[in-house]
Symmetry: C2
Subunit: 430 residues, 2 copies
Amino acid sequence: MENQSVKRIAEAVKLDSFALAAATESIRNVALKAIANALAEHKDGIIAANEKDLRLAEQSGIASPILKRLKFDETKLGDVIRGIEDLIDLPDPVGRKLSRRQLDDNLILEKVSCPIGVIGVIFESRPDALVQIVSLCLKSGNCAILKGGSEAQNTNKALFDAIYDAGIASGLPKGFLTLLQSREDIGELLQCHESIDLIIPRGSNEFVRYIMNHSEIPVMGHADGICHIYVDKAADIEKAIPIILDSKTQYVAACNAVETVLVHEDIAKDLLPPLAKALKARDVSLYGCARAMEILSDIAAADETAYFTEYLDYTVNLKVLANLDEAIDHINRYGSHHTDCILTEDTETAEKFMQRVDSAGVYQNCSTRFADGFRYGFGAEVGISTGKLHARGPVGLEGLSTYKYKLFGDGQIVDDYATGKKTFHFKELS
Amino acid sequence: MENQSVKRIAEAVKLDSFALAAATESIRNVALKAIANALAEHKDGIIAANEKDLRLAEQSGIASPILKRLKFDETKLGDVIRGIEDLIDLPDPVGRKLSRRQLDDNLILEKVSCPIGVIGVIFESRPDALVQIVSLCLKSGNCAILKGGSEAQNTNKALFDAIYDAGIASGLPKGFLTLLQSREDIGELLQCHESIDLIIPRGSNEFVRYIMNHSEIPVMGHADGICHIYVDKAADIEKAIPIILDSKTQYVAACNAVETVLVHEDIAKDLLPPLAKALKARDVSLYGCARAMEILSDIAAADETAYFTEYLDYTVNLKVLANLDEAIDHINRYGSHHTDCILTEDTETAEKFMQRVDSAGVYQNCSTRFADGFRYGFGAEVGISTGKLHARGPVGLEGLSTYKYKLFGDGQIVDDYATGKKTFHFKELS
């Protein structure tokens, strides 16, 4: 494989994708089961490979959050194996009849779900993401071409070998899974718009934005996660403070962590002092608008750039506003259309917010950290999309599927309908 | 408007799109009714404007098929008005609850359909397309920015004025509809990825391909329509010939016209002579592979380029193949993923073809010309998509919609679930 160009590899995978698209549910589920078993069998080798990656990473002085994501121990292996077993039990995303309509006698139109085809996945250090994404692609009948981070290279190879051999032994076509190894392969991969149907990048903002700007292939994912909480005048302060704390500090490096808290002027004096105290107790640095600074004298000034910043850190902006409309405008202007929340006990206000805020997730009275495939009950996710076409928010099996129209006739020609010799008789069939 | 940059216009439209997204079904339908009435009232002015365009086009020697598409008389006006009235009666595409799931007590996740936002539409000479696309965008709560062909400029302006005034009088935000007039505006429009969510181009292959390659904005549509019919050995020749004739000649300039007919070797000798005779009787020029030329001595040779060509004319390729797999491979390689048909009485063969051919429409025993929003019973279409993400095939109201996730909570935080203090209780609600 090393000697082949990525273009040639992708072309071969494309051809195999038609065979995988036609594989029955049973073939795909049997292969998933074999993969789960193989991962368990190769436990020692996988963990040894990960230990090697961890040693190399430590030697090269890689930051500790990356080390944490890189670690793949027995617990994590157990989790991904259980994840595969859960996935096997989920309903088949392929071949669902999304609609069935009679156009005329013996002329039946079916809209049927089917795989997208070939998915290119470019991801960072987390080895569990590899297993998750591969199993979601397989369950949904898609071929996957993977490029993992170099720091996880030994772990990825060990995982790939176990998964690939189990898949082939179960009768899957060779192209069901490909692992690219060198960094230069990414550039070539992005040029394969004839063979690759979708790219899913998982990594830093800059990395994802680079991918989005350097390929004609559709990209599904998100670069920024600039999430907001708007505290309405009708908010319950008892609920508001824990929600804001959780949204900011439960995991600061997450894309669904809150970066700016907007506060209605009528509640600002009651909310901001205890909120600031609670945030500072968790070591959160505060930036504020002029009005917030009037109430909280000891915070720094938030400028225009601050509102466009995804901190991914223990930092938050506080801004006081006159009304709901200003909050909606701020979020639609500075936000990244990821997840935004209103805290209010007023249903009508919540409804207006949730209708007008142009984001994949619009929440009332709960933490922005809920934006996640597992927490949404999807079983798993390949990522979160802030694009508005195809899939939005956390993307699971459904986002890895498309559909085709099947039209079953008995000799019908269009000229008969164009000339009025026949007329359509539309009828929904179930 | 003439003095504003397209970027500034698009930014203003973006802001108005949030208001239009929140407009009730009743507001949108009342506006559609007012638009239908206004078009009827302004009949004389619209037809006079079209006559002016037609005169100018004739003077400049424009080809007659374009003149035909440009013509907008009382009959066509009546058709588009009836189209709007039909659209009013269709169910609201906005605010449909696509799913509703309990994540835990008082933590309810709803997936709700909503408009995409701002749609840029760049279209050719057909004035009826303008009315159709505008009314579909309005029904689905999207703002539309239009750029029509210069040859239809007077007609487009007359239609726009009538529609715009009626919309504004019905209370729609100003940005619901914008007409750009100059050709240079297209380049600027393609740069507005901050404000425009989707581009729909309607025009020649080269034009659509240019748009697709020159914008970061997602593009929905198709460049080529290279459609195939595969005549299986188990085909009924009595059905096959009329279907092929209709697919080729009912309207040769359509994207869903057939360009290559693939024939199983077992049926080639019986099918090709009467088929060639029937096609020639309709002035169709025939190209063929070596094996087809053995049977039909008086046809020209089809080379590799021929199979990649969308003729849009009275020309067709004939190719003899050994089996179904060769037909599927040919279509997936040379086709444009638009619409491809198998003629066979064998259900299992049809099923294999329809599963493995990677096209938006896969047909059995009927004309490829059925690939159309009206004929599918969608009411109307904004175009046909050969992309595999978001919308595929003829695109109607559903393809102009996206969704958002609304999460309704009562103070829930993620930390309680991460620490095991609480657990999720997923339950589908109806």
